[in-house]
């Protein structure tokens, strides 16, 4: 019994390596139940009529396992709902990352300028976003690819934030979800949902409690659930298996480790 309490660290590292490498070499999907926040997130997008306008603050820099699958699954879902997407980025890196997301979500089949527009990097943080809400075309004359926004079909119809039906916020820091909440969602009382990596989960819970965001895909777990509901198993699902198994192994180790610890203390006590 005392072995369970003091398993040497090197053995723990070895088990973790094995638990992570095996699912990488032979991946297998997992049955994932859906939590409340992801369910609300899905329902709000599912309720969109064709042609409704979505203002989407994106934040993908690399093909990671949290933000990237969240964005790809969301765009695939929006494509199914034939929603018009306007993407807006706070960083040059995220503007580049968003190009891959559009590709991987199959947006090159759609018509650029009418079905979706990628505004890319908009410098200036809070101030520019405030101006953008009042007059989109004046604030961002040129989109990410260099085409003038004034002549785009989307911007004949969509002039200000009032013409937007849904705001999707995302991001891993500041500027990020709280910037969109403070400047776009709260002042104009927009319907809004959010997607964040795990490290930002704690910050977003406050906003979800205050009903600023009506749904949220949080961390890789949320991405896996959302991929399960929308039926598009993406990068989150394939890389979640190692985390799922290692978490179970860790919980068992923690429980049995402490049982052994407590029983040893009792034995020493007598």
């Amino acid at each position: 019994m005392s072995f369970l309490e003091r398993i040497p660290r090197r053995i723990i590292f070895l088990t973790l390596i094995i638990v992570v490498v095996v699912p990488i070499l032979s991946p297998f999907p997992l049955p994932v139940p859906i939590t409340k926040n992801t369910r609300n997130y899905y329902n709000i997008i599912e309720a969109l009529e064709p042609g409704s306008v979505v203002f989407y603050g994106t934040s993908v820099e690399t093909r990671d396992i949290e933000a990237y699958p969240q964005h790809v699954a969301t765009l695939k879902h929006l494509k199914e709902k034939k929603a018009i997407v306007i993407t807006y980025c706070f960083g040059a890196g995220t503007a580049l990352g968003q190009e891959w997301v559009y590709e991987d979500a199959g947006y090159d089949e759609l018509e650029y300028g009418t079905d979706y527009v990628h505004l890319g990097f908009v410098p200036g943080g809070d101030a520019t976003l405030t101006a953008f809400c009042n007059d989109m075309v004046a604030t961002k004359q040129v989109d990410h690819y260099g085409n003038p926004t004034a002549t785009m079909p989307i911007f004949q119809k969509v002039k200000t934030i009032h013409d937007v039906d849904l705001v999707i916020a995302s991001g891993g820091g500041t500027p990020g979800p709280d910037t969109y909440a403070r400047i776009v969602v709260i002042p104009y009382d927009k319907v809004s949902i959010v997607q964040v990596p795990g490290a930002m989960a704690a910050m977003v819970y406050d906003f979800i409690n205050l009903k600023v965001f009506r749904g949220g895909v949080i961390a890789q777990r949320g991405a896996v659930e959302y991929e399960a509901i929308t039926g598009h198993a993406g990068r989150a699902t394939t890389t979640f298996a190692p985390i799922f198994i290692s978490s179970i192994v860790l919980i068992l180790l923690m429980i049995f480790g402490n049982i052994a610890y407590v029983s040893n203390r009792m034995k020493e006590g007598q």
Binding site: R6, P8, R9, R10, F13, L16, I17, V20, V21, I24, L25, D64, I65, E66, P197, G198, A199, A201, A202, D206, A219, Q220, R221, T239, P242, I243, S246, S247, L250
Partner: protein, 227 residues
């Protein structure tokens, strides 16, 4: 398998990765080399960025005519007086400027972001249901733990005792969120290694395993390995 520069660079980065992972067993020459290469090349990169930064944001501005930017350049040079024995007190001037700026800029965002925003949210949530009351109570009790002028004995002692439990509860609820993304970074790291250079990875890992077996065989299972 053409031996391009690219392939050699990928092999080198996989070798550095395996060397860093070998620290999990214990510190060794491979890890030491990788550690020093990382520190050395990063400092070289930092120097390049520093020189570029000084040229672009200081020298360029002065040449354009913003004389004010001459001051940070002089202050910057004063940093190097620390190597002259009797004038090394001159380095206190650039330090004073930098400490004055970075302390105030950070402090003013803390007073608004952490104290003022929290106060605004606290006094704008009506205590109409149990949850809101408990939120306020949890906040006040957690704050009570950090008092110094009252002795933590008797009633106050029990409140601060609960305060510590609330604090540890908050800690307990923040760490697991990080754990998931950290485990994710292992997955993506090992995935990259296996896909980028499978043979090099297999070879290097085998080498490390052989070395571990050799190390245990010669040194026996030391006390350090049992912790």
């Amino acid at each position: 398998m053409e031996f391009t520069i690219n392939w050699m660079m990928v092999t080198l980065s996989v070798l550095i990765t395996v060397a860093v992972y070998s620290f999990l067993y214990r510190e060794n020459m491979a890890f030491r080399l990788a550690e020093h290469v990382i520190i050395g090349s990063f400092t070289g990169h930092a120097l390049v960025m520093a020189i570029k930064n000084i040229n672009e944001s200081a020298v360029a501005r002065v040449s354009v005519g913003e004389i004010g930017y001459f001051i940070p350049i002089i202050l910057g040079v004063l940093f190097f007086t620390r190597y002259i024995r009797e004038y090394d007190w001159l380095q206190r001037y650039p330090l004073a400027v930098v400490i004055g700026i970075s302390s105030a800029v950070a402090a003013r965002s803390f007073i608004e972001g952490w104290i003022w925003k929290s106060l605004q949210v606290t006094i704008s949530t009506p205590l109409n249901n149990l949850d809101h009351i408990l939120i306020l109570l949890a906040m006040l009790i957690a704050m009570s733990y950090f008092t110094f002028t009252i002795k933590h004995t008797g009633v106050v002692g029990s409140i601060t005792r609960i305060g510590k439990i609330v604090i540890l509860l908050v800690f307990g609820l923040t760490i697991p969120f990080d754990l998931i993304s950290r485990l994710g970074s292992i997955t993506s790291r090992l995935e990259w290694m296996i896909q980028a250079a499978p043979y090099v990875t297999a070879g290097a890992t085998l080498l490390v395993l052989l070395w571990i077996v050799y190390d245990i065989a010669t040194k026996g299972v030391t006390e350090e390995l049992r912790t």
